[in-house]
Symmetry: C2
Subunit: 386 residues, 2 copies
């Protein structure tokens, strides 16, 4: 089998599982319990917090653990905006954000906020000039992803961070797709809020984090016992958080080398696909691109048919972010890049990870041209053309 769907589902690193297990079986104290088993759990949380913080050049105690990146995006955007609505009611967001960002903004629109969706160019890069022009005196938040998980395009985050600072607007960055792939440095980004995902760096699912710069105030979206400094109530998932911490530590040590390796595979894949299959085109930016992302469109075929055909050969790929696959609509990201509906529908997303080897690419290239050809033969449009 060849698995090219890492952005949608990552295995948990064996070392991470090892680190987690004691907190499921023996070290079972509740971090809020006063006794020494509670204290041990508290210490484990704080150590994990420091490890995650270190990975993004943060400071002590600036991470809040959540149930994942989706919750962290909600907490950052809804939590910041509701808490600071007296300062203003306008938010700026890119048009190719993850659905958890887009839908957080839509929620705010229903609650009295105005939202400007900034377009991107054909390669998926946010149009910075339009972003700056859309700033008003009521603007309180700019939210732009570090990199797009679907087309891989890396955004000019530092530039946007500078603009946000210049206008004294809070800046949220969704780093779900970039963490562990390229450098995520909250200082260089100039970010006030940064969303982090555990599974995307080979930690367990159901865990995420939000970096909150000291002094930035947000309102919780889940209330209760006041855990996580009151920002996120609920008994902490200690084992999961310890796993996230371990994954962060491993990532810090290993990701640079791994990214280089994946980048090589990526470039080889792109070259072999575009060379080997006629009328295939790269989506996303040719250079400003995540090292593990390959997104290609094929004329005259449906992405979903390709996914299912490859699946039967033990090759696992996606049409787009799994999070948007529930609708039959084409990917909003590809449409925002100016693709036609049929182009968007004919796109395939390959995301690489630690398990991918050269052989996987050979395996893919043995199957993909054949599958594309077969599907095209069934397409009336293709026949007409040829």
């Amino acid at each position: 089998m060849a698995y090219f769907d890492y952005a949608n589902g990552c295995p948990v690193d064996e070392r991470v599982i090892e680190a987690m297990l004691p907190y499921m079986t023996d070290e079972i104290g509740n971090p809020s319990s006063v006794h020494s088993m509670g204290l041990k759990a508290r210490k484990a949380l704080d150590e994990a917090r420091d490890r995650v913080s270190d990975l993004i050049n943060g400071k002590e105690g600036d991470i809040i653990f959540t149930s994942g990146a989706t919750e962290a995006n909600n907490l950052a955007i809804i939590g910041y905006s509701m808490r600071n609505k007296r300062k203003g009611d306008h938010i700026i967001v890119s048009s190719i954000e993850h659905m958890s960002v887009i839908n957080s903004c839509k929620f705010l629109q229903k609650n009295g906020f105005e939202v400007s969706y900034i377009p991107v160019d054909r390669n998926g890069v946010v149009r910075i000039e339009e972003l700056e022009n859309s700033i008003r005196k009521e603007t309180i938040l700019i939210t732009v992803q570090h990199a797009n998980g679907e087309i891989g395009t890396i955004q000019p985050i530092e530039e946007i961070g500078k603009i946000a600072k210049e206008y004294d607007i809070a800046f949220h960055v969704d780093a779900t797709a970039s963490l562990g792939k390229i450098e995520v440095d909250v200082e260089r980004m100039g970010a006030d809020l940064v969303t982090l995902s555990s599974n995307d760096i080979y930690g367990p699912r159901g865990v995420g984090g939000l970096f909150i710069r000291k002094g930035v105030r947000i309102q919780p979206i889940i209330v209760g016992g006041g855990q996580e400094k009151g920002y996120r109530s609920g008994t902490e998932n200690v084992a999961g958080i310890v796993g996230f911490g371990e994954a962060a530590e491993i990532t810090e040590e290993e990701y640079r080398e791994e990214a280089k390796r994946e980048e090589k595979l990526r470039d080889e894949m792109i070259e072999r696909i575009l060379d080997g299959i006629e009328e295939s085109y790269l989506n996303g930016h040719p250079e400003l691109r995540l090292p593990n992302n390959v997104n290609v469109r094929f004329s005259f075929v449906e992405g979903e048919s390709l996914v299912l055909s490859l699946d039967m050969e033990g090759i696992y790929v996606s049409t787009a972010s799994a999070c948007t696959s529930k609708t039959l609509e084409p990917s909003h990201v590809l449409i925002a890049c100016g693709l036609k509906h049929e182009e968007a529908h004919g796109s395939l997303l390959f995301t690489l990870g630690r398990g991918n080897k050269e052989e996987d690419v050979d395996r893919l290239m043995e199957a993909l041209p054949r599958v594309v050809e077969r599907l095209r033969m069934m397409s009336p449009l293709y026949k007409k053309k040829s």
Copy 2:
């Protein structure tokens, strides 16, 4: 060591861990991915959903998975009220609910709702007559816990369910403390929304569930890719959910016998403490009580000093729910039962679990009278009295 803090932290059953591991290492598909690995994950989710549903006599597909009981309580109370506010703006809640329920209600109060907090009697039983008298034509939701995790009192849920039905008001039950201890049957309860916790039945932390009766509409509090029928976005924590399902299956098979065993230990503990230590009193109801709950107050001592002294002897107990231990305030549950502040502060919570044996009780009874005596000797109030 002797661990009497199961309500605040449970180990994960070894069989549950076994069931979870494959979903961390090999079966890593995203349930939203179209390929067969995604399908496998989807099937695993649905199987877990059915298993949890079976435990509470639910129907197919009526469980929504969340990150835990706190989120489920928020989703039920805030989600139901916001979705149905056109029907009315009044909510009824008991005064001894978990902080995630109380604070969800407070959030609603800040958002235009009125909330009636219903008092309890000395044993912690909700005063049903007052509950019924507080119903208005604007009342849209009644929320009462099945049993209290701190004092163990079991509420007359079926009666309250009948009242809710009679007045056509939605009924939410927090079954966090009762699930796996006593029967939780959504039909007999007459409940429309029921909160469930995984760790409390020896499943992993960071997972919970909300039973939503067919036809009951709620609004999500976490938005994004539309997972969990749109009620709860975010990539599903498949391994955790599979673990919750496995824990539910094991609980269904084993809890009745285990509850009997714990009940015996509980009664022995209560008897030996009340007999062996003068001026010690049981908190909560003497009969309508969770089988694993012992809550006792000791005059002239501070609960926290007791916890720390016992901790040094390897005995782990709590003062109250760990979720309220962050404040120096006495437990709102004990105060609602009519205890004075010093009585509340002198209370200890013991919660039993599968690991507890007869020897743990012997161990406790060797230490507790001695520790209480020593602390009392240091109390000026106690000296004055004797």
